[in-house]
Symmetry: C2
């Protein structure tokens, strides 16, 4: 199973994982790391390293999700940029994690990463427009 | 100033707002609503309605950010789909809120909504690839 590490400013990554679990049930191999005011880049980076080590030899890889490109959470992941079993995606949101959980036992690491990014982009919708389009479609049927 | 309402499953919207404030400082006119197990669609919808009413006549509008299209947080916003002073965007992430905060005093509601969606899509990056491209560009200089 491909593991997920979510790294964010403050605790929203942790709460994001909770939200996923409310929707999809308890999940294994998902870690959330929070950057708090007193944490440095090195501490965070070390924590990531420890998680990656945990059974990385047998593992099919891990995806690190960070809140944004740039900033300490993303920079803490850059140390692992040459690890073939690691992918890193920025801009984490709920649909990306849901897609990830749903497909992580079906797809290899690189394909899963591509799918998550694609679904993430597609999840950012003009809800008003989408809803009104649906209504007008239903009317025209 | 355009106001922001963030509605999510559980508390990650609230923590997301905290993360934004850690990065950009305290913000006015930003509300976070959490859907908890015992909350119904109507309760949540009522809360949104109350916030929208607060000075909506003088306001330049509000953007409702929801975690995903479909699900109770998004559905609670659909009641306000015909309000011209309301826009709704799904798939909320940190870069979208940062863009929103940075431009909400400069752009009118519809343009701001478009920009936030665009920046949101662009924030979902293959960080590894982007980083390696940067390194190779720097080497070739």
């Amino acid at each position: 199973m491909i593991g997920f590490i979510i790294i964010t400013h403050g605790d929203f990554g942790r709460q994001l994982v909770k939200a996923v679990q409310v929707i999809l049930g308890e999940q294994k191999e998902v870690w959330a790391l929070s950057l708090h005011e007193n944490d440095g880049l090195d501490t965070l980076s070390e924590k990531v390293g420890k998680i990656l080590k945990e059974g990385n030899e047998q593992s099919e890889g891990k995806i690190i999700f960070v809140d944004m490109f740039g900033g300490t959470p993303a920079n803490a992941s850059l140390k692992f940029v040459n690890d073939e079993k690691v992918e890193i995606i920025s801009g984490v949101n709920l649909p990306m994690l849901i897609t990830g959980i749903n497909y992580r036992q079906a797809l290899p690491l690189k394909e899963l990463t591509r799918l998550i990014r694609q679904k993430g982009e597609q999840s950012i919708l003009d809800v008003k427009q989408k809803f009104l389009d649906k209504v007008s479609k239903a009317k025209n049927k």
